[in-house]
């Protein structure tokens, strides 16, 4: 046990004594958290639109008024020739072009089909769908208004279902509440997995490992001695990150912080097990970085951080079960935003604990003092 303390002490001295690495490990991730949290907003807030109004009627002007009144749309151009609006689209200045054909109003009032034409730059499929979705709902509302008016004028009132909608836990749909805890987890996990993956292989590259291997240190002492300082750093970063999230972004913390930190601890141990296992299996730091990065990329992309896990195909959803980032993101969101209790996240705890056991077990087994 005393030997373990000496290993931990040595790792700490090496980490803290490294003037170049320390800021990279502490300040940079927090700066990143701030920056990325402001950036990580897939809400489409601004759609640049060019409208060609060839009708110039009361209806068309009312519709344009409705569109420009919405703060999501910026009218960048209103030419009277479709040739010009096409150019706006090609040059990337306009995201959407709306063409209102001549006789739009007349056709509507006569009950003929009144058609609008929408050209959407769809390279970014999601932004395109969302942007045209906004426009469609404005058009739909406007249609509803004038339809009721017109129908009332003819004396027939249709039945309606009034839909009231509410968003629980985040009524203002603040996207940062959703993203900040996830990004924090992502940053911390990337950091510790990469550093731990490069750790023992570094001793092998430099040659100090041989000196260690002729000492009576046990494999588990060595692995544990490497892990504990990183657990400490990870927990410290999480604490700073959560505090910053609370102070700067006012992230709600509805659930128990004990559950949050308890889970973080288990998760860090699991993730470090993966990192140390990688480190034992590779030959150079460069390899370690690549392998770790390979997995981290997959972990993050399939974590539900950016796209909901529910939308993935079944096989991909199964693959998220052994993904520590997915569990981390899920637990943070559930407990912090919705106030889920331990029972609600017990499954995540269980799976992560199993991962921690398996990976650290493998890390100890794969660390061989004898070749």
């Amino acid at each position: 046990m005393r030997r373990l303390l000496f290993i931990i002490q040595k790792e700490f001295i090496q980490i803290i004594g490294n003037r170049a690495m320390l800021p990279l490990m502490t300040i940079l991730p927090i700066v990143q958290l701030m920056l990325l949290s402001f950036a990580a907003d897939s809400e489409v807030k601004n759609v640049n639109i060019t409208i060609t109004d060839l009708d110039q009627s009361q209806f068309s002007r009312q519709l344009i008024g409705q569109i420009t009144a919405s703060d999501r749309f910026t009218l960048i151009n209103a030419p009277l020739a479709m040739r010009i609006s096409d150019h706006d689209l090609l040059a990337g200045e306009a995201d959407i072009v709306l063409n209102i054909p001549p006789d739009f109003e007349r056709n509507f009032l006569k009950g003929y089909p009144a058609k609008l034409q929408l050209l959407v730059n769809a390279i970014n499929g999601q932004a395109a769908t969302v942007g045209s979705g906004y426009l469609m709902s404005i058009i739909r509302d406007y249609n509803e208004d004038i339809r009721l008016e017109t129908a009332m004028g003819v004396g027939r009132v249709p039945s309606r279902i009034e839909v009231a909608s509410a968003n629980w836990y985040n009524p203002d749909l603040n996207y940062k509440y959703f993203m900040v805890p996830g990004i924090l987890g992502e940053l911390v996990i990337i950091l510790v997995i990469l550093l731990s993956a490069m750790n023992t292989v570094r001793e092998r590259e430099i040659g100090t490992i041989e000196q260690i291997n002729v000492t009576p240190i046990k494999s588990w002492q060595f692995i544990l001695g490497k892990m504990i300082p990183f657990v400490f750093i990870g927990m410290l970063l999480l604490t700073i990150g959560l505090t910053a999230g609370k102070v700067i972004f006012d992230i709600p913390m509805v659930g128990s912080l004990w559950v949050v930190f308890g889970y973080c601890l288990v998760n860090l141990i699991a993730v470090l097990g993966i990192g140390l296992l990688i480190s034992n299996l590779v030959d150079t730091q460069q390899q370690a970085m690549l392998v770790a990065f390979f997995f981290v990329m997959i972990f993050i992309l399939m974590s539900g951080l950016f796209t909901p896990i529910e939308s993935m195909p079944d096989w991909a959803q199964l693959l998220t079960i052994p993904n520590p980032v997915a569990h981390f993101v899920a637990v943070m969101r559930k407990v912090l935003l919705k106030g889920s209790g331990f029972a609600d996240v017990a499954w995540n705890f269980r799976v992560t604990a199993i991962m921690a056991l398996v990976f650290n077990g493998l890390a100890v087994l794969s660390y061989r003092k004898v070749s």
């Binding site: 000496f6 001295i13 009576p216 240190i217």
Partner: protein, 240 residues
């Protein structure tokens, strides 16, 4: 009292078809300075790695400090010290921190570590540099520090793998004075080298050629047997 610090009988190491160490048998007595010579690739380093438990023998038997290498290799590690040809202390730790770390790893008490540290610093005359990073030391000092650290837990046997590579004769001489001091206190020294003048300093030497021990004896005996004036000549005769 065990009379032999190391015994090896038919010790063998194979890597696939290649036999790096081929049935070597020898004893090293307590308190002896035993030189382990051989050309590059003769199997010296492989042999030493087996004896210190870094590499599992493919066959044969051996004891180190009276313990069985096959069954008690982790126990052996408590009783031996090792210094490799590559400097392998932590360059980003200070001298004091390195001594402290290895003392701790070998299970020394805090108080003992403190006295050991003071002894080593005094012996190497490094008191004023104790809190400097090891990476900045000249090579000769690094080597002597490595040796002291390999002795920090008062081991029965110390293995030195080409300990004096890359330094001038005067510095090597200083290093050997440390070896003699340790040996005179009853410690067994097992040292590989390719400097033939250093071979003359050893009590006994063995010369490995192609995985086998080609000759073993005191420097005087070997010179006599091969009718050579110096160890250089002995070596050249054997290796050709």
């Amino acid at each position: 009292m065990i009379s032999n610090a190391i015994t090896a009988s038919n010790l063998t190491k194979k890597f696939g078809n290649f036999t790096a160490v081929d049935n070597i048998t020898f004893n090293v007595k307590r308190g002896e300075v035993f030189g382990f010579l051989g050309a590059n690739g003769a199997g010296k380093t492989t042999a030493i790695k087996m004896l210190i438990g870094l590499s599992k023998p493919s066959g044969g038997e051996a004891t180190v400090a009276g313990l069985n290498l096959m069954t008690q290799s982790e126990k052996i590690k408590e009783r031996i010290g090792y210094m490799s040809q590559k400097f392998s202390l932590y360059e980003d730790l200070t001298i004091r921190q390195n001594i402290n770390f290895y003392g701790g790893v070998y299970g020394l008490k805090r108080k003992d570590i403190r006295t050991k540290t003071a002894d080593i610093l005094a012996e190497l005359q490094l008191e004023d540099k104790a809190d400097e990073k090891v990476g900045g030391l000249p090579l000769g000092w690094k080597q002597r520090l490595s040796f002291s650290v390999a002795n920090v837990h008062d081991p029965d046997v110390v293995f030195l793998d080409e300990p004096t590579g890359g330094v001038d004769p005067a510095t090597r001489r200083q290093f050997w004075e440390m070896i003699y001091a340790a040996a005179s206190g009853g410690r067994t020294i097992f040292v590989t080298t390719h400097y033939m003048d250093e071979a003359e300093y050893c009590d006994r030497i063995s010369i490995m050629v192609a995985g086998k021990i080609a000759a073993l004896g005191t420097p005087g005996e070997l010179k006599e047997r091969f009718a050579a004036k110096s160890m250089d000549e002995v070596f050249l005769r054997l290796v050709r």
